[in-house]
Amino acid sequence: MSQVESRTSRTDWWRPRRVGDGRSLELQLGPLSLAVGRSGGAWLVAVSREEARDTASRARCRVRRRLPEQFEARYVQAQSAEWLRFEPLLADRPVVVRPYRPVFLLSHEEVTLYLSTPVFIRVAAGDPPTVLREIPSQPMSDTWFGPNTRSGELCFAGRTHARHRLEELPVRAHRAITPLRIRNATETALELEKFSLPVPVLTLFGAGNGSLWTQQITLVREEVGDLARVAIEGQPPDIGQTLERLAGPRQDPERGNLVLRTFSALFGAGGH
């Protein structure tokens, strides 16, 4: 899974490209295939997905000499500019991540788990860029996160292996990795059943090998009560590579709000 396609550069797919009339820009990112063609004063957008093949690691972006044969929508721009950009973004709702198998954090232990969430692609054309549309790289199921069915928050659902070793991480070009540092300062083991990852308040970074990252989230489970201290680092995570800032947070992080969240609000009702 972690083989890197060496033929094409994996890192520059998010840079703006010049697309001539009658040509199109194609992006293959994980399961997503996206083609945007320029025809006269309009952009033709074609989206398709390949679920069956193991396409998780592919990331290829190139200009083709033809227009997409079938397109979903046409975006008319009076002054057809030739610049086109595929911009990676984090999801617009929190993602509730659940491990495939239960993970327990023993008392007085500390661990960094690497959780990944699919990114969205924002198609922007022209200079200054105008947003045509946003497309999730992978369709995500809705889920509800809250103490009951009356109050809570609509989120996306995700699954994770909750890996804790950096070298085990596969490069999946369409997913952004969030390091989650958890410290269990209590006497009892902590079951990590599910975690609501607040991706709309995180910043997205790109690494040299094409992997996408967000800042680290630190979480401390205190002895007293249900409260957990949550902190979002201001700096990009330390993964031994230089990281380039790709997109800022979609929402302003309300610091107070995040810090004061209870543990059950982050881990779900049965998570502790």
Binding site: S141, D142, T143, W144, F145, T149, L154, A157, K194
Partner: protein, 282 residues
């Protein structure tokens, strides 16, 4: 000139004039107050509360000016109030229904079980609430009809607000043939829900075996969706379940009837006959 002097000297005419000016000014000011409320509070209040605040401002200002106009005309406020009390009793007896609707309307607004813009179901009528007025609630049904429901009947009957909570559950009742394995049916259904992106991951889909039916094993399968996606989920999940059952070879049975000819029954004699077009010439 003498005419104007005479008019100005005419005290009753002058007071009528002043009263008229007061009423007109009151009307204009009340409208302005109502607009001011909308401009100041519009972005912060819900449609329901805004309408209440606007009406409150309008009628409050208007009532003040009307009272002043009355005083100008020489009526004593205390006497008017007393007369109004007597009048209310008389009117109350004469128009019980209207009064009942009026009081019900106050309770409806106070109870806040629904607001303007909500979708409610009353009896067999489902629609969007357009306004909650003194006497009635106005609905727009989904086939675009305007329905007026008296407040009194709303207070008395069961009202369901469909848009109160952000998520909804869809209960699908289905039956499978007696030969099927219930656990396998459950697995297939859960897989369908897992694949459907509109279907919420949490709360998890619910599988309930409801009983041994006449010709099928009866099952309730409940899935959750965002309120906005409810209809889309309802259609997509039914289609996906049918397709998944077809693929897995699970039968959704037609009603079966077993016929017996009596106590010491023998099977009905059955003879297989070829259809006419395939019968041989001889």
């Amino acid at each position: 000139m003498p005419l104007i002097d005479a008019l100005l000297a005419n005290e009753p005419l002058l007071s009528i004039l002043r009263a008229a000016i007061l009423v007109a000014a009151g009307f204009v000011l009340a409208m302005l107050a109502s607009r001011l409320v909308r401009r100041l509070l519009g972005p912060r209040l819900s449609a329901q509360t805004l309408q209440l605040a606007r009406r409150g401002a309008f009628y409050g200002v208007l009532a003040l000016f009307l009272a002043s106009a009355m005083r100008e005309l020489g009526f004593s406020l205390a006497v008017i109030m007393g007369a109004a009390g007597v009048l209310t009793v008389a009117i109350g007896f004469a128009s019980q229904t209207t009064a009942s609707n009026l009081i019900s309307g106050l309770f409806l607004i106070g109870e806040r079980s629904f607001e303007i813009g909500d979708i409610i179901r009353v009896g067999s009528t489902t629609g969007e609430v357009l306004s909650i007025d003194a006497l009635s609630v106005k609905l727009r049904t989904f086939d675009n009809l305007f329905v007026r429901i008296p407040n009194e009947s709303l207070i008395k009957s069961e009202v369901t607000t469909l848009t109160r909570f952000p998520i909804r559950r869809f209960d699908l009742m289905l039956g499978v043939a007696y030969k099927e394995d219930i656990n396998r049916v459950q697995e297939v259904l859960m897989a369908v829900a897992e694949r459907n992106t509109l279907c919420l991951d949490e709360p998890p889909p619910l599988f309930v075996f409801t009983g041994f039916g006449e010709s099928s094993l009866d099952i309730q399968f409940s899935v959750w969706a965002r309120r906005e996606n409810f209809l889309a989920l309802r259609n997509s999940i039914a289609a996906a379940i049918k397709a998944a059952f077809d693929q897995a070879g699970i039968e959704i049975p037609f009603p079966h009837r077993s016929l017996y000819t009596g106590e010491a029954t023998r099977p009905f004699p059955v003879v297989l006959v070829d259809p006419p077009d395939r019968q041989s010439p001889e």
